[in-house]
């Protein structure tokens, strides 16, 4: 018994000493930064040898740092393009970590009812084609709600952000006009409206400006008790964003998930799927020369897709559906 304990202690000590050298640096997206910090912190408590220093400097900057090799791995709210992947010396693997969603929020004088939006109506508003709240398209989505004959003040993000990417990616899918005129990116040439800096800038402007509409991250809306509208999904149902409906969107998309996980799940199939949802990814090199580091990163990823997922809901991030976790486990084995 004593010997066994000793051996166990020895193994533990060995494990710790092997891992002791692992200082991992990572950089990228700001949107999942709170849950990443929580994960790295919790993981460090359990494996004192592994320390991850994550800098939330934005998806674009994260990809740049990964390309130039100044970080061990990156993180991004939008999947890397083929051109970006070809620039990195080592092939980069995408690992979905959590899910986010973007919700429409509005402030209309005299309207307290929760509004419903179809994708076409949202695209029309953001294109500047739908100018008044009592437009037939909006009246059709919201029977029984008395919408005023007032001009719509459109508010969008002014800073480049994954939130804008998800929003414009969705509008591109539901509106051919949007796709050809504007497109999807972290910043676009907005046809209409005012720009607010950050979620707080958009939320503040919408709150203050009568008859305005904007979009914010679901987490931000939940944490600040903001009212937001439901959106018509591909199956034709009006769905309100919540952790469950966002995970449902991921599950709906999981069936057609490509091997490299680079997939947009906006307008995903499924009756309960919320259509403006997205994965956010960790970008991990497929070959890590330092064996100890590779082992530590693999172990962390395995923990993240299993135990780590249990911590996401408390921070208002939607956890990955089971189907995705199973596929990711296979991909973890590909890291060398």
């Amino acid at each position: 018994m004593k010997r066994q304990l000793l051996a166990l202690a020895g193994v533990c000590a060995l494990g710790v000493s092997v891992a002791a050298a692992q200082h991992i640096t990572a950089a990228g997206a700001t949107f999942p930064a709170p849950v990443y910090q929580k994960w790295f912190d919790e993981y460090h408590k359990m494996h004192s040898g592994v320390e991850v220093n994550y800098q939330s400097i934005g998806s674009g900057a994260g990809i740049q740092q990964l390309t130039s090799g100044t970080v061990d791995f990156g993180a991004s709210d939008m999947p890397m393009t083929d051109a970006q992947i070809s620039k990195v010396k080592v092939h980069t693997l995408h690992f979905p970590t959590v899910l986010g969603a973007v919700v429409p929020t509005y402030n209309i004088a005299g309207v307290t009812a929760e509004l419903k939006f179809s994708g076409e109506a949202l695209a029309g508003i953001y294109l500047g084609d739908i100018k008044k709240w009592n437009d037939p398209a909006l009246m059709k989505d919201n029977p029984g709600v008395k919408l005023p004959a007032e001009d719509i003040v459109v508010v969008h993000r002014s800073d480049g952000s994954g939130t804008s990417f998800i929003w414009t990616d969705y509008l591109s899918k539901v509106s051919p006009t949007w796709k050809s005129k504007v497109g999807a990116n972290t910043s676009v040439s907005w046809p209409a409206g005012l720009g607010g800096k950050g979620n707080e800038g958009v939320a503040g402007t919408v709150k203050q400006t009568p008859n305005s509409i904007g979009y914010v991250e679901l987490i931000y809306a939940i944490q600040n008790n903001m009212a937001y509208g439901s959106v018509k999904n591909e199956a034709g149902a009006y769905v309100k964003a919540s952790l469950a409906t966002v995970s449902a969107a991921a599950a709906g998309a999981a069936k057609e998930m490509p091997e490299d996980f680079r997939v947009s799940i906006t307008n995903a199939p499924g009756k309960t799927a919320y259509p403006i949802s997205s994965f956010t990814w960790m970008l991990i090199p497929s070959e890590i020369p330092d064996a100890g580091k590779a082992q530590a990163i693999k172990a962390f990823l395995q923990w993240m897709v299993t135990d780590g997922q249990k911590m996401t809901s408390a921070l208002a991030y939607a956890p990955l559906p089971k189907e995705v976790v199973a596929k990711e486990t296979k991909q973890i084995a590909m890291i060398k």
Partner: protein, 320 residues
């Protein structure tokens, strides 16, 4: 013998004094060249960093008003316009107020009040700009939307400057918050300049029978005009480079509008907003090139300031 040692001692003293001078000169020279070096590195980095955008877009970058990261079409015109308009608006508001306040503090107010107020004004200069931005977003914007802009529209609506929907955010509000922010610099530096005017000047003027107002406006202020101009350019520099407060209230729309109520964008604001998420090669380079443009605007304005100072100085010296 005694005189000889004295001479020797004196030369020794002179020698140490001379080495001291040389050391001091070298140290000062080093510090001065560090400044030059920083400017040179800055220009070099901006030039190299913007290469991709300069090659792809050429001179059209300066005149185009497209800003479309999706199709990689970039133009600096709306940002240059926004930067200049908001800074000019800021100066239009803050110069009369700032110089007026400085005259009051240095010429009219009792010393105790003057010192207390100056302390408070210098505190204003130390407030971080994000605080000014919040203040503007939550206080100034609603005031402008509900009272300020409707009033201007009603009274001066015949001018194209005051037309269009009143959002509250836009050029005018951004100019106002910039005015508030450049205000402390103008007051505090102008006040120092006015206080540095010799007593003799004032007394001579009063002795010649000038009233207090005539003395202030025709003797003291002209005497201190270099310092006052310096304070104005300090304020302008703050207005040109300000980022956070402006982006929170300007509306962030890269387009050129005649109306001051319309939303706009400034160079510093767009760099801060879009740089973190800019991917590809041309997009980040275009943002760096905007930085280069801002640098050039600053140089041009500073050069104009020098010329203005030189012109007014020679005019002043010819005065009888």
């Amino acid at each position: 013998m005694a005189t000889q040692t004295a001479v020797l001692e004196r030369t020794a003293v002179r020698k140490t004094a001379q080495t001291g001078d040389t050391v001091a000169r070298l140290v000062a020279l080093t510090f001065a060249s560090v400044v030059l070096l920083i400017v040179a590195v800055l220009v070099f980095e901006l030039w190299v960093g913007s290469a991709a955008a300069r090659h792809k877009l050429g001179w059209s970058f300066l005149f185009s008003s497209d800003w479309d990261p999706v199709t990689e079409k970039f133009g600096a015109a709306p940002f240059m316009y926004g930067t200049v308009v908001t800074s000019v608006l800021a100066l239009l508001i803050s110069v009369p107020l700032g110089v007026g306040a400085a005259v009051f503090l240095s010429e009219l107010a009792p010393a105790s009040i003057s010192n207390a107020l100056t302390f408070l004004i210098e505190l204003l200069a130390a407030i971080p700009s994000v605080i000014y931005g919040m203040l503007a977003l939550f206080t100034l914007v609603p005031l402008m939307r509900n009272y300020g802009e409707p009033f201007l529209k009603k009274s001066f609506g015949f001018l194209p400057l005051f037309r269009g929907p009143a959002f509250g955010v836009g050029f005018l509000t951004a100019g106002m918050i910039l005015a508030v922010m450049s205000f402390p610099f103008i007051i505090s530096v102008s006040r120092e300049a006015l206080l540095a005017v010799p007593r003799d000047q004032r007394e001579a003027s009063l002795a010649l029978g000038a009233t207090r107002w005539e003395t202030t406006s025709q003797v003291v202020v002209p005497y201190a005009r270099l310092g006052i101009l310096g304070s104005i350019f300090l304020g302008l520099a703050r207005a040109l480079g300000e980022t956070m407060a402006v982006t929170m209230v300007i509306g962030n729309d890269p387009s050129i509008h005649a109306s001051l109520f319309a939303p706009g964008y400034t160079i510093a604001a767009v760099i801060a907003n879009e740089f973190t998420e800019a991917t590809g090669s041309v997009y980040p380079a275009a943002l760096v090139e905007l930085g280069l443009v801002l640098f050039c605007i600053t140089i041009v304005i500073n050069a104009l300031a020098r010329i203005l100072i030189l012109a007014t100085t020679s005019k002043g010296s010819k005065r009888p």
